[in-house]
Symmetry: C2
Subunit: 189 residues, 2 copies
């Protein structure tokens, strides 16, 4: 089984015998560091598995960039609003390093249901899990201090510290780079 089939199979839970056919819809595609996967206000018709590299999802607020999310190897990246509803993208998505992606276009995505019997359910399951993750994230802002959010991040996604600039991690956690730096320092001792 190709690496591409493995990624797709794991993520969506597609039956092995359907994997080869499914995989043909996903094209390999590369992105150089700093290239944009998607621009706010334009259409984003692509959903991609990240085979290598990392991307950040952000938007401008009062002239500053606010990082909503960082996606890394083994995860999916897209602008959900655009891919689901055909609206213009809500987010800027930019490569933080050179990326290798397996990408499917919106019209092909909508055709997966033609031969994967329970596709709409798999899709529903996938989005539900994303929803639950965001629920946890909202709760973390309601109930945790910056330090606690940092600790939680350490446990869940420590590897990102070696892969992406810390300033973006800080923004994603809702703190300044200075605060993140001090927390790191404090926790080393």
């Amino acid at each position: 089984m190709s690496s591409k089939e493995q990624y797709i199979g794991q993520y969506f839970g597609i039956q092995p015998q359907l994997l080869p056919q499914t995989a043909t819809f996903f094209k390999e595609h590369a992105l150089l560091k700093n290239e944009y996967f998607c621009r706010q206000g334009r259409n984003c018709n692509t959903l991609s598995f990240i085979r290598s590299g990392a991307l950040r999802v952000f938007a401008y607020q009062d002239g500053k960039e606010v990082t909503q999310w960082i996606a890394a190897e083994g995860e999916l990246i897209t602008d959900l609003s655009s891919i689901m509803f055909g609206t213009t993208a809500r987010w800027e998505i930019q490569a933080l390093s050179d990326c290798e992606l397996y990408s499917i276009e919106r019209n092909d995505l909508n055709r997966l249901g033609d031969f994967i019997p329970n596709w709409p359910n798999l899709e529903k399951t996938f989005i539900s899990k994303c929803f639950l993750m965001l629920e946890d994230r909202v709760f973390s802002f309601l109930s945790m201090t910056a330090e606690e959010r940092y600790q939680q991040f350490l446990v869940k996604r420590m590897h990102l510290f070696n892969e992406v600039p810390h300033q973006y991690i800080a923004s994603m956690l809702g703190m300044t780079p200075e605060t993140l730096s001090r927390l790191r320092n404090k926790n080393l001792k």
Copy 2:
């Protein structure tokens, strides 16, 4: 068309001719103030439209109640994890006032697809919208002050101020009741 059919039709975008059949799955059911719709750690097998009243979704953190969300008339209430995946509920959900609900049980929900042709898609659309709402909420914590979140809440859901205790609104917005009180006071002048 009954009020029940209207609620359901509006929310999920079900074709008019299927509405009567769909509506039979939703039972009217009442909840008294302070009664629990769902308890954390137990199963929550119900999804309900709120015909009247309001409920709050919360969890305990360090002995304190943290309000994740308040749902009011015209909205849906459930524990998504429990209803989707059959897990135990992540949240406590309690009636803030006497409530009239239109409720469907989990097994009936799963049977709607038998006669509503594009049901899985309608469900997917519904959850996607919830996801986008949470995305905005996360962004509000990353990029806005307590005062800005309050202002935004005023525009979107001002009516809740007359319906539920302010302390829960404060918690949901990520601030203390004292801060909310001061912001309200400041903005009246």
